[in-house]
């Protein structure tokens, strides 16, 4: 699958899967996850998101991924760093 994203996002949500349970929000150590207030998915849930401006702040701890019961989150990391 093509891994290319328009903005170099580190935290990508499958918004259609998201049920807005907010469990990812609480668990992020750098507090960058929030619930989208401006949209709903087709099931009527407001999805979680990391705003573009905060993507950089992600420390790749994977806590959100671990916590998400609906497996909505894909995480990326810069290649160079390691």
């Amino acid at each position: 699958m093509a891994e290319k994203k328009t903005v170099e996002k580190k935290v990508v949500f499958d918004e259609e899967r998201c049920k807005g349970c907010e469990l990812c929000v609480d668990v992020c150590p750098v507090d960058i996850i929030r619930m989208a207030e401006d949209r709903m998915n087709s099931h009527g849930y407001q999805p979680a998101e990391v705003p573009d401006e905060d993507q950089e702040k992600c420390i790749s701890c994977t806590q959100c991924y671990q916590m998400c019961p609906d497996v909505c989150i894909t995480l990326y990391k810069e290649n160079k760093k390691d």
Binding site: C21, Q63, Y65, D70, T74, N79
Partner: protein, 248 residues
């Protein structure tokens, strides 16, 4: 950019039907990741329970066999005896495993049936709308314990996992939880060990997972995680209950 965490191959694309925040989904992911990591998706037959996970066969991307309520260990036994070289697991709720299916789990465990059981203890009957389970806590209100579980009438929350550990057949039995990322990682480790034991032909393994049912507990997903930690964990302490390291 390197992908460091993403949707496992061993899950289908279907969206889970579970309620928001329900940890059934978490455990599904862990099992799928283990199938990926052990490369056993094509060797695995999962047995789905009757309970909220009744549709598990829509999510796990391996062969799946539905059981009747509580009888997953018997169904799994039938499968495993025909295909001793395949990986067979059951995924069962606390009503399924600890109530109606008591005889089947006890005897599969005692026979040392070489299968892995994932036991989701959420202290309630989720699917049927929140009745008391044998694992429901003292005083916990459910639709069939409207005044709170009364130990005199209904007995103590049953310690199925402790009880099964008293048998000779099981090779590995542990209780884990999925209410924090750390516990989730530990849960995965235990689950993986159980599957590995099966691959090594070491007999029956069971992992009890303390889980949430925000819907029928009537609280938010987040509160549910706290409730699990505060109320369930003291009654159902985590850890390895049985671990037979070497054989013969």
């Amino acid at each position: 950019m390197k992908k460091i965490a993403s949707y496992p191959d061993s899950l289908t694309e279907k969206h889970f039907h579970y309620c928001p925040g329900c940890t059934h989904g978490t455990v599904h992911r862990l099992i799928a990741e283990i199938m990926d990591e052990l490369d056993i998706r094509e060797e695995t037959i999962g047995v789905a329970p009757v309970g909220c996970a009744v549709l598990a066969y829509e999510y796990f991307d391996c062969d799946m066999h539905e059981a009747s309520h509580g009888r997953a260990p018997a169904v799994a036994t039938g499968i495993k005896r025909v295909h001793p070289d395949k990986v067979v697991f059951t995924y069962q709720g606390d009503g399924d495993l600890a109530s109606i299916g008591t005889a089947e789990i006890v005897h599969a465990a005692n026979r040392g049936e070489n299968i892995t059981t994932v036991f989701i203890n959420n202290a309630i009957y989720g699917m049927t709308g929140g009745q008391m389970a044998p694992t429901t806590l003292e005083g916990q209100k459910t639709t069939t314990s409207p005044y709170g579980r009364n130990l005199k009438e209904a007995g103590n929350p049953i310690k199925m996992t402790e009880m099964l550990s008293a048998l000779d057949g099981p090779s590995y039995i542990a209780r884990v939880s999925v209410h924090t990322p750390k516990h989730i990682r530990k849960a995965k480790k235990a689950l993986k060990k159980a599957f590995q034991r099966q691959l090594d032909g070491r007999g029956f393994t069971l992992i009890e997972v303390l889980s949430t049912c925000p819907t029928n507990w009537g609280i938010t997903p987040k509160d549910a995680l706290n409730w699990l930690e505060e109320y369930m964990m003291p009654v159902y302490p985590l850890g390895d209950l049985k671990d037979i390291e070497e054989v013969e």
